[in-house]
């Protein structure tokens, strides 16, 4: 832990390299961080409000406030699993705490999500949908819980993928499955009572529900839900850290 703190500059510079380096030579550059979620929003809105004619009011808002946080989780599952393998040249030649690779990946994605929230706020303000300001103050807490969950998942996936390359494909499929198993293109009301008992144990659901409460229903999120969200996320982070620590000893030999 102390060592990770000593290497904080490395985390910062890898995050910076990731964010700046990604769009360095593209014409639209950083704008892509905003365009990507907007395009997905357009597609889903078209699909669900024009073709499937959902009766959820202000569907695009309902969708967008969960889609943006979901994209973070999804990129951590599908891209985060490659965060160690992708840097194998560095890993085989030089020592640094291996945790830095997944940590900086998640941090870069997280910064991206926070920037996407700028778009969310702009849409909420411009469309006249408005905010519930006191509830908005709890938003950073939800974001931090999501960061913990995303980090736990990335640590776990990236370490396992080194030993077991199929993980990448499995996670891509799993991510699609999880998207529909979480309240993103629909609301909790669509989930029947007897399923909901199991349904709610998904920590991603707990986090998305909290986002939706704050921004879409404009109310304070449910405290019990948040409590369990924190507990579940921390458990996943601890598992991720332990597995990563155990597996990271042999990374250089496995790659």
């Amino acid at each position: 832990m102390k060592e990770l703190y000593d290497y904080r500059t490395m985390i910062a510079s890898l995050v910076k390299r990731d964010l700046i380096g990604r769009y360095k030579k593209s014409v639209l550059g950083f704008l892509w961080s905003f365009i990507d979620p907007l395009l997905q929003l357009l597609i889903y809105t078209f699909l669900f409000s024009v073709i499937l004619k959902t009766d959820i009011p202000a569907f695009h808002i309902c969708l967008f406030v969960t889609l943006v946080p979901w994209l973070l989780i999804s990129s951590c599952l599908t891209g985060g699993c490659m965060s160690v393998i992708g840097q194998q040249e560095m890993l085989k030649k030089i020592y640094f705490p291996r945790e830095i690779l997944p940590i900086s990946f998640v941090t870069a994605q997280f910064v991206n999500m926070v920037l996407s929230f700028v778009v969310v706020f702009v849409i909420l303000a411009v469309s006249g949908y408005g905010f519930h300001l006191p509830a908005l103050l709890t938003l950073p807490v939800i974001m931090i819980i999501e960061f913990i969950l995303a980090l736990g998942l990335t640590l776990l996936c990236s370490a396992v993928t080194v030993y077991f390359r199929d993980m990448q494909q499995i996670l891509a499929a799993l991510s699609l499955l999880l998207m529909y198993a979480s309240p993103i293109v629909y609301t909790l009301d669509f989930v029947s009572e007897n399923i909901r008992k199991f349904y709610m144990w998904n920590p991603i659901t707990r986090i998305l529900v909290a986002y939706r409460d704050i921004l879409y229903y404009k109310k304070f999120p449910d405290a019990i839900n948040i409590f369990w969200g924190i507990v579940e996320s921390i458990i996943i982070l601890i598992i991720g850290m332990l597995v990563f620590r155990k597996l990271s000893k042999n990374f250089a030999e496995e790659l």
């Binding site: 500059t9 510079s13 560095m90 085989k92």
Partner: protein, 395 residues
Amino acid sequence: MEQGNAIEVKNISKSYKIYYDKSNTLKDKVLFKNRSHYEEREILQDLSFSVKKGEAVGLIGHNGCGKSTTLKLLTRIIYPNKGEIQTEGRVSSLLELGAGFHPDMTGRENIYINASIFGLNKKEIDSRINEIIKFSELEEFIDNPVRTYSSGMYMRLAFSVAINVNADILLIDEILAVGDSNFQLKCAKKMQELKRAGITIVIVSHSMGQIEELCDRCIWLDKGKIVAEGTPQYVHKLYLEFMGQVRTERSEKERQLAEEAKNLELSIPKVECKNNKGESRVAFEIGEDINITLHYKIKKPRNVSVQFTVFRSDYMMCYDSRTDAQKQKVLLKGEGVMQLQLKSVQLLLGHYMIDFAFYTEEGHLINSFERICQFDVYNETTEKGMFRMNHEWNF
């Protein structure tokens, strides 16, 4: 850890699993669970040594003896199967240069990324950046993207960062040939400077010269064990003798076979190198006589002239001479021996090779024998260069 030690290696063993057909996919793991064939190759066996603070230690040994593995273990890239390694202070290695460089970012931005991977924080980098840029001699280009650099510039930048991180322990795998000769000289100077500044250095090299120049102590590894340890001069003498023996045994056989097959008019089936006491040697101390005996076979008796040329291992010609230049007549018949005595050899540390060539009286080449005689020379003094210049100071 003992007081005053920078590195302590205690009874470490390391083995690699060498897979015959390695696969990490689901199909193979499930279906062929027990079919993973591998061989356990032991690289290091119960190795122990320690390095004092401020000491410079060289590791030598032929390929596959475990010296690079030892270095990797010290950097904590890999971990031993048994035993433990303790180090004190920041460890930096010149194993990987330019880690994390992004081609589209400027030299300056990349210095920050690269240095941060060595564990420096922003403040530390800020205080060193000017020194790093100055050392790399890239002042003009430092704000251009790295992809516009030539490979030499790229390496110079990477090297400048690695050497300026102010580590307490510096690990080097083969001093790198970076940049032009001026820059290399600068690197060598910087190494000396770091050593004087009290930095602990562990270096793996095949160049005995580099180790003698820099190190206080040398460790010779073979098959994962320490064979000898001591001053570089002492260890190198033992090592050169050992390596020479291995080499002559091998080349002797090859040559015999080749010559028998060719059925040459003139052949030299055997060459011996001896010192004045008549003992066979492959390494000599400076100032010793080297007695070379050539056993020859010739089909019909002939007057010939003989040429011998001495090369250093880098093919620098050191000396060349022909018997006919001295109006010396040589008659060879049947089988016999000829002897060449090199008196009080003044060559300095290095590996040397001799070519012999035989000419008819008219000057036509009969046959030449390349590098059939090889030997090493060592000196226990600190002199450097190619040969000893006899000199005298008067004050």
